[in-house]
């Protein structure tokens, strides 16, 4: 009993001691992401890209004459932990802006906290439209699911370099908001273009056996399968589809982008397509520089989409702070909203009225264990204004 009271006292005392030292000679920015847990690789990738940008910014003098310090909080891939993490960043570390998160569910959890504290939040890669609808302090540096789903549907049905399919099967991750969202918009566009969804199967994050669902899909005889999931399952799905004798192409979204898709999927992923934020073998100097610097800093690792978006998000935020000329949340928010043509590594970024980034999408095809650039889709063409 006495021990219990002692513990309570300790907690009480330390809570009073919890005050961060505020250094006036640096700008503090918060970052929260999933550094551990089921989607740990997304958080660590974003963090790595962000740190690369941070080094570049700080070594060229920082922003407003001060160095930037980034405080990282891990939300262990849990939405409730995201809320606590952002709350800590805002009230304990006194950050002036927050970068995060990759998963739309965690962005949705944390956004209200940022909104009511009037701290701008910039999500590098959450694609669910609801995230920025939370409030006018919430931004994102990437395109949204309606655009991505529609782009792939249009490409698959109309583009000559695509499979030119009319019958589609979908295999989506029922527990993943990203996957569910992409499926919805893909289905809409396919039906609007007169196509057919012949099979609609689902799996759960972490599953390793998809043969039952794939057998169902095979029975419906589709021309292509849309698999808008994360790379953690996609490699296996492709392999098992080939094992069952299905040679049709599989298609997906930016969740496919990772080395693991190739390592796990091997030749099963050849002939497949996916939409992405950038193409690693794009011939522009910005992409080449980014890839080279990333490889140099991180032991020859190839950057994935999360890394480049983290890099761009950090750059965008620094640029916005520069343009705002102050560390006031409202001014930074206004500067972010007026971002036009920011030269990010993943393309020129312009913020639209709904605080989503207007960026082109690239479509990649996998051949010989390598993703090749096939096509670009510009924002207006696929009707991202939604």
């Amino acid at each position: 009993m006495r021990r219990d009271i002692l513990i309570l006292l300790l907690i009480g005392v330390t809570s009073w001691a919890c005050r961060a030292a505020r250094a006036d000679d640096e700008i503090v920015i918060g970052e929260f992401g999933s550094l551990t847990g089921g989607t740990a690789t997304f958080g660590t990738s974003t963090d790595e890209g962000l740190r690369l940008a941070l080094d570049e910014i700080n070594s060229s003098g920082g922003v407003l004459g001060k160095q930037i310090r980034v405080v990282v909080e891990d939300d262990q891939s849990k939405p409730e932990a995201a809320v606590t993490a952002v709350q800590k960043l805002i009230s304990e570390d006194h950050v002036i802006a927050v970068i995060g998160e990759v998963a739309s569910s965690r962005s949705l959890a944390a956004a209200p906290v940022c909104q009511r504290s009037h701290i701008p939040m910039l999500s590098p890669s959450s694609t669910n439209p609801k995230v920025t609808a939370v409030g006018n302090f919430i931004f994102r540096a990437c395109f949204i699911d309606p655009f991505q789903g529609a782009a792939m549907a249009n490409f698959a049905m109309k583009d000559d370099k695509g499979p030119k399919a009319t019958r589609f099967a979908i295999l989506y991750d029922v527990k993943n908001d990203y996957s569910v969202g992409l499926r919805q918009f893909f289905t809409q566009t396919v039906k609007a273009n007169g196509g057919l969804i012949v099979a609609d199967e689902s799996y759960g994050e972490g599953d390793i056996d998809f043969k039952a669902q794939l057998t169902n899909i095979e029975r419906a005889a589709p021309d292509a399968i849309y698999v808008p999931g994360y790379y953690t399952e996609v490699g296996l799905i492709c392999r098992q589809a080939r094992d069952l004798g299905m040679g049709i192409p599989l298609m997906g979204g930016d969740g496919w982008d990772s080395d693991k898709t190739f390592q796990i999927g091997r030749d099963a992923v050849n002939g497949c397509f996916f939409t992405n934020h950038y193409s690693p073998d794009e011939d522009t100097p910005r992409v080449k520089d980014f890839v080279a610097h990333y490889r140099a800093k991180y032991a020859n690792k190839t950057p994935d989409a999360m890394a480049i978006l983290g890099y761009d998000a950090m750059g965008m935020l620094a640029d916005a702070i520069k343009r705002a000329g102050s560390t006031d949340g409202r001014l930074i928010r206004d500067a972010l909203a007026h971002t036009k043509g920011y030269p990010g590594a993943s393309g020129n970024i312009t913020m639209d009225a709904r605080r989503n980034a207007q960026k082109p999408i690239v479509i990649l095809k996998i051949e010989n264990d390598h993703a090749h650039f096939v096509a670009t889709v510009q924002p207006d063409a696929a009707g991202s204004a939604k």
Binding site: D4, W16, P79, P112, R116, V174, V180
Partner: protein, 465 residues
């Protein structure tokens, strides 16, 4: 010779304290919660952690009732929390605005909580529909059981036939654009949904009238109160449903069965689009910062509600445990057969403990949804159930206060480790960062060490006696 035929006479002020300390403490806690919300120290982050800790207190104490006092090892507590959270969040979010607009995307948060009558009606509609549905299924089950008289294996055969019939029914209904008349199961299910919508629509006026009878200042707190109690009741009803087949089980089997039910509940919730499906349910209650001008029970800040409910839970469950019912529950736990021989019905007492525990879990869920404003089924996984079980175990057998303390400690320790660099001298910052990064490995390791050393200590103490 001493007789205790006469009751002891206490001084009047002792008797007053004995009866009034609970409401007094409750009021004090609520007022302190409100004051702390605006103070500069401890600040929003610590307040947030404290509120999470208070919610964990409710969870831990209610689970202590189920596990410690009643001896039923339930691993499905997070499932009941999920039921309470989702239903309370949905009712608040959808029905609480004064002008119920089914097409509104994001209702104005200042308009939320304005219509407690409608919130109440939504729960009533749910209760009616759920009651009819489960009543029908239960009736069917009882009929099948009666078939045992005709032929011992008949129930099993009948159940198999019904299952295959339902599957065929569902497939036919699913594959045709309009549900055929012959698919009675699917039609029945859709009919129930229509009934729910109809009751909702028709009760709107009744709800509005109810709300109008309350003075304006009371409507918002009443709305939240209805949501919380409604969430708790829904969780209790779910527990009744879960308990019916499983309360005959013992020990580990019950544990896994409750775990299974929690997973099934999660699986069902994630497929319902109205509850947000995979994206989760957003209940944006917290758009503006609370100010001292807001009245104390404004739902815009939750600390009075949460701290008050935590204290209330402790008091209520404490009272229950010390009451004759509580004693009966403990007797059933200790020796079921002896209790039955003494005329105490084991099943009903087990059910009471289980359902009460689930009620408070639902209450905790309802509070949680209004604290964070966002729900995702991943937050209610069995890892969450297990975290609560750990709090209960660390608290000690059947000690409610111990469970509460353990809840606070286990909520605080990962956060403390996260902030470790503040407490350690600057030279140890890299070590502090390592501790923060690996705090969950440390947590698991600490738990292991504590379990083993406690057992060894207990053994050592026993040997010295």
């Amino acid at each position: 010779m001493q007789t205790d035929a006469l009751p002891r006479v206490r001084s009047w002020w002792l008797a007053l304290i004995h009866n009034l300390w609970m409401p007094a403490v409750l009021a004090a806690i609520v007022w302190i919660g409100r004051e702390l919300e605006f103070a500069d120290r401890p600040g929003p982050y610590v307040m947030h952690v404290a509120m999470i800790a208070a919610i964990n207190i409710i969870l831990a104490v209610s689970l202590q009732l189920t596990i410690g006092v009643s001896g039923q090892f339930s691993l499905g507590h997070a499932g009941f929390m999920a039921v309470g959270a989702y239903l309370a969040g949905y009712s608040t979010f959808v029905f609480a605005p004064w002008n119920f607009d089914p097409n509104a995307d994001y209702p104005d948060p200042r308009q939320l909580f304005a219509n407690p009558g409608a919130t109440l009606m939504s729960f009533v509609a749910l209760a009616v529909v759920a009651g009819i549905g489960s009543g029908l299924i239960l009736g069917l089950f009882l009929l099948i059981r009666q078939a045992r008289r005709i032929f011992p294996a008949l129930p099993l055969i009948l159940i198999t036939i019904f299952l295959i019939w339902i599957v065929i029914d569902a497939r036919n209904a699913f594959n045709s654009p309009e549900i055929p008349v012959a698919c009675i199961w699917s039609r029945g299910a859709i009919g129930l949904v229509h009934l729910y919508n109809a009751i909702l629509l028709h009760s709107q006026s009744a709800g509005l009238w109810l709300s109008a009878t309350l003075p304006e200042a009371w409507r918002k707190p009443a709305s939240l109160m209805v949501a919380i109690v409604g969430g708790g009741t829904a969780a209790a009803a779910a527990a009744l449903l879960v308990g019916l087949p499983t309360l005959r089980l013992r020990g580990d089997y019950l544990a896994i069965a409750t775990l299974g039910f929690a997973e099934i509940i999660r699986n069902v919730i994630v497929t319902i689009p109205a509850l947000g499906a995979a994206t989760g349910l957003s209940v944006n209650v917290y758009w503006t910062k609370p100010s001292p001008a807001d009245r104390i029970f404004e739902p815009f800040y939750m600390s009075p509600w949460i701290f008050g409910t935590a204290a209330l839970t402790l008091m209520l469950i404490g009272r229950l445990v010390r009451s004759p019912t509580g004693r009966a529950i403990k007797t059933v736990r200790d020796d079921e057969i002896a209790a039955a021989a003494m005329g105490i019905d084991p099943t009903s007492h087990r059910v009471v403990a289980f359902v009460t525990g689930a009620f408070f879990a639902g209450v905790a869920g309802a509070l949680y949804v209004h604290l964070d404003g966002y729900l995702n089924t991943n937050s209610f996984s069995f890892m969450r159930s297990i975290e609560i079980v750990v709090m209960v175990t660390l608290g000690g057998v059947e000690s409610l206060f111990g469970a509460a303390i353990a809840a606070v400690a286990l909520t605080a320790i990962p956060e403390l480790l996260d902030n470790a660099e503040r407490f350690l001298p600057a030279a140890l910052t890299p070590q502090a960062h390592w501790m923060a990064d690996n705090r969950f490995v440390l947590y698991a390791f600490l738990l292991l060490v504590i379990m083993i050393t406690r057992a060894k200590l207990k053994g050592a103490i026993r040997k010295t006696r």
